[in-house]
């Protein structure tokens, strides 16, 4: 397998860190070299956050440069737009169709861009957009939206589904495991729907 560079972008508090942990384990289970780079601290308080996950035969640095991401997993649409230039030519972006207004927009100092998904669709060939929040809610917990998105991502890779499930079992705390396994399946299945 060639190196796989994944970026997870979103808003602090959306569960991007847990998603990156699962991805890291997915890499380990395939005996791949892996590096994940996260940002903690201040930006986790509702700021714009980005996590890099790199896996392959040999991974040097933990960072991904502009135009080098094979996949962008965007937890929010404005963040998808903010980071889209990191996507490699021919890369895939998975977008959760959720809008979270940043403070300058809430207090009327800035305007939230319109028609983001349509704009992205013009620029990007491989784009998967879903309402992961709604799917997570149906599974019983809106916080599982991170795992819904992983389900979607899983379907678009050639990594076996069992590896993903095993990785989730290892990372997700026992008391919320069931909801998350359900969320993964829901994401995985919704990806199949999109393909039709």
């Amino acid at each position: 397998m060639d190196n796989l560079n994944i970026m997870i972008v979103g808003v602090g508090g959306q569960g991007t860190l847990l998603a990156s942990r699962v991805l890291g384990n997915v890499a380990l289970k395939q005996s791949l070299d892996v590096k994940v780079s996260e940002v903690h601290g201040m930006s986790q308080r509702g700021g714009s956050v980005v996590t890099y996950v790199k896996m392959g035969k040999k991974v040097y640095s933990p960072l991904i440069e502009k135009g080098e991401a094979d996949v962008i997993l965007a937890f929010e649409i404005l963040e998808a737009l903010r980071w889209v230039e990191y996507l490699k030519k021919g890369g895939t972006i998975v977008v959760n169709e959720q809008r979270i207004d940043p403070m300058p927009v809430i207090i009327g100092k800035a305007k939230y861009p319109e028609n983001i998904i349509a704009k992205l669709k013009q620029q990007i060939q491989n784009i998967i957009s879903v309402n992961a929040l709604k799917i997570a809610k149906e599974c019983g917990n809106i916080k599982a939206l991170n795992i819904v998105l992983l389900g979607l991502l899983a379907k678009s890779t050639d990594i076996a589904k069992d590896i993903w499930l095993e990785a989730i079992r290892e990372v997700v705390p026992a008391k919320i495991l069931d909801v998350n396994l359900k969320a993964f399946d829901a994401g995985y299945l919704s990806a199949s729907d999109l393909e039709k």
Binding site: K35, V39, M42, S43, Y60, E65, V84, K89
Partner: protein, 602 residues
């Protein structure tokens, strides 16, 4: 043993355990906090002692005491924490330790979550203490073990200096067997008592160790040359990885000298490297520590090749490095085109200016209520608001705009006092969080009483150290490993400091909070208000609020004045109607300021 996915900070914790850890202490600070957090989780299994100390100076001193008695001891902090701990550190370099003492100081180039970009390698040089500088989580584990071994053998504290991209990078880590160290106990000796005469003797001793360490680092496993062609690159820390990746992309094979011990520099190894190359590029984030060392060696031996780096003006001293930057610099020096221009999938069109998304106080955060109450009570009073370090520094942002100054831990209370002497007619409010209060707030409060500075101190008590990940502190009655401790109540402390006006209030009850603030303003002399309500991240909401669209006039006051991230405007086609989203945590502050009573609990 199999590979486990560990974050750099967890790898450091594991390394300490494998080395035979007996004792660990720290005050939390990004990006170092997970080291002690992880050690706390594993304490029972591996039988060592671990604590969250009150501040970094205290943490270093208790860890040193344990090492005096022969313990393998670790203290962890962020780079600015070392400033607080610098007093014991400088003397400890002379006095030395028994057992072992590893001082983990996490630097934050960028910075991502810090007040400064200070470089702990420079601090180590000043303190004359050896440093290990890992470039990855794997190295961080192994270097931690080597640092313990070196500290024990030389009898001095040893630094481990990871940076954010090591602390918060995650990789597959292989575990090794755990060693056990049985502390011998403390043996009385005049060598533990620092006096000028002893200092002179120990200074000479410390200088002798510098040379020995430098020779040892010439040949250990962390400083090595990877041979290559013509151009040489000297690099340390995470920059080594950027260099390797950039070289792979450019398809070049430079000779690389990787330095894992930036102090005392392995000058013999650097000399050997200079014999093999025609010109050198030095790649290191922050201070030119390796570069200055290399230039000195080059000067002594008459190296005539070019030396590129920060001093030559090629690379920046501030901020983080990246693969793109290193690639560009190397391509430039080698006269190569900057490889092929990369076209992202989105095209090369310049991205439009998007609204920024700065971090904010959470929905339901009690600090918002505290700031708002003080803002209302001091309306038109021309007041000044001094802030401090923590989540509540975010109170600086509009629409609250309630943090006029922020300098370092504990400085809110004291900056306020200087301001008050020069601006006697303006009310001065100093905000300080509960964890920061215990850290370095108390001496400043005593100073206000002793010197009679009539400042108004607002202690934002949310019963946790929120910003760094909810560590307990003396006010919470919980200890690092989860056991119960004494609860130290800030109210009692402030009273004992001699503050005559001390009142506690719940900031989420806006009217009462405002009344308390007004009384404090009328009081002649230093006054303290303890604003007490738990951090919204520590409990589940029991209610949520919603806007009754029948009543709401969309005046926007709630949104404009509070800046709560749970609010949004729904695009209804005709006009953007105000709504409260699922992020609402039920604090109810907005419902108390709505002029029409349109905001109601669900």
């Amino acid at each position: 043993m199999s590979m486990k996915l560990l974050m750099g900070n967890e790898a450091i914790a594991r390394g300490a355990i494998e080395a035979g850890l007996n004792f660990a202490a720290a005050y939390p600070g990004t990006p170092s906090s997970e080291i002690i957090g992880t050690l706390a989780e594993w304490a029972e299994e591996f039988e060592y002692y671990v604590e969250w100390s009150v501040n970094e100076k205290v943490a270093l001193e208790v860890a040193a005491g344990a090492a005096y008695a022969g313990a393998y001891s670790l203290v962890a902090m962020k780079q600015v924490g070392l400033n607080v701990a610098s007093d014991p550190l400088m003397s400890l370099a002379y006095i030395g330790i028994k057992g072992a003492l590893v001082v983990v100081v996490a630097d934050d180039p960028g910075p991502h979550s810090s007040q400064t970009e200070q470089d702990t390698r420079t601090f180590a040089k000043f303190a004359k203490l050896p440093v290990f500088d890992p470039s990855s989580p794997e190295e961080a584990l192994m270097m931690t073990k080597d640092a313990f071994e070196l500290s024990h053998r030389y009898g001095i504290p040893v630094f481990l200096r990871p940076t954010t991209r090591v602390c918060h990078a995650t990789a597959g880590i292989r575990f090794s067997a755990v060693e056990k160290n049985q502390p011998e106990g403390f043996v009385k000796d005049s060598k533990w008592v620092i006096f000028p005469r002893l200092s002179y003797v120990r200074h000479q001793w410390l200088e002798e160790q510098q040379l020995k360490l430098s020779r040892e680092f010439d040949s250990n496993r962390w400083n090595y040359i990877q041979s290559g062609k013509k151009i040489g690159i000297l690099a340390g820390g995470v920059s080594v990885l950027y260099v390797r990746e950039a070289a792979a992309i450019l398809g070049i094979q430079p000779a690389i000298l990787k330095i894992g011990n930036p102090y005392p520099l392995p000058t013999g190894k650097i000399s050997e490297f200079l014999d093999q190359v025609e010109e050198v590029v030095v790649v290191e984030e922050l201070d030119p520590v390796l570069e200055e060392g290399l230039i000195a060696v080059a000067g002594q031996k008459g190296f005539t090749g070019k030396i590129h780096g920060k001093i030559s003006g090629l690379l920046p001293r501030a901020g983080e490095y990246s693969i793109a930057l290193i690639k560009k610099v190397l391509a430039n020096i080698l006269g190569m085109p900057d490889s092929e221009e990369i076209t992202p999938e989105s095209g090369n069109e310049k991205a439009p200016d998007l609204p920024v998304r700065p971090p904010v106080l959470c929905a339901g955060c009690s600090h918002r209520a505290s700031f708002y109450a003080v803002k209302r009570a001091t309306k038109n009073a021309n007041a000044i608001y001094t802030g401090d370090i923590g989540c509540y520094t975010l109170g600086n942002a509009p629409p609250l705009s309630m943090v006029d100054t922020c300098l370092c831990m504990g400085a809110g209370v004291t900056i306020a006092q200087g301001l008050k002497r020069v601006e006697p007619d303006r009310p001065i409010f100093a905000f300080i969080g509960d964890s920061t209060f215990f850290h370095t707030g108390i001496p400043g409060i005593i100073n206000a009483v002793y010197n009679n500075h009539p400042v108004k101190i607002v202690i934002l008590d949310n019963s946790t150290t929120a910003m760094t990940g909810h560590q307990p502190h003396p006010g919470t009655g919980k200890k690092a490993a989860g056991t119960a401790g004494e609860i130290i109540d800030p109210v009692q402390v402030v009273k004992a400091c001699g503050v005559k006006f001390v009142e506690t209030t719940n900031p989420l009850d806006l009217k009462s909070a405002e009344a308390v603030i007004r009384r404090a303003m009328e009081f002649q002399g230093p006054a303290a208000i303890v604003m007490r309500a738990p951090c919204a991240n520590t409990f589940k909401p029991v209610r949520r609020f919603r806007i009754d669209r029948e009543i709401c006039s969309d005046c926007g006051r709630c949104l404009r004045e509070l800046g709560c991230p749970a609010f949004y405007r729904e695009d209804s086609g005709v006009k953007a109607a105000l709504q409260i989203g699922p992020a609402c945590h039920g604090c109810g502050l907005c419902s108390q300021i709505c002029p029409l009573g349109a905001i109601k609990a669900e």
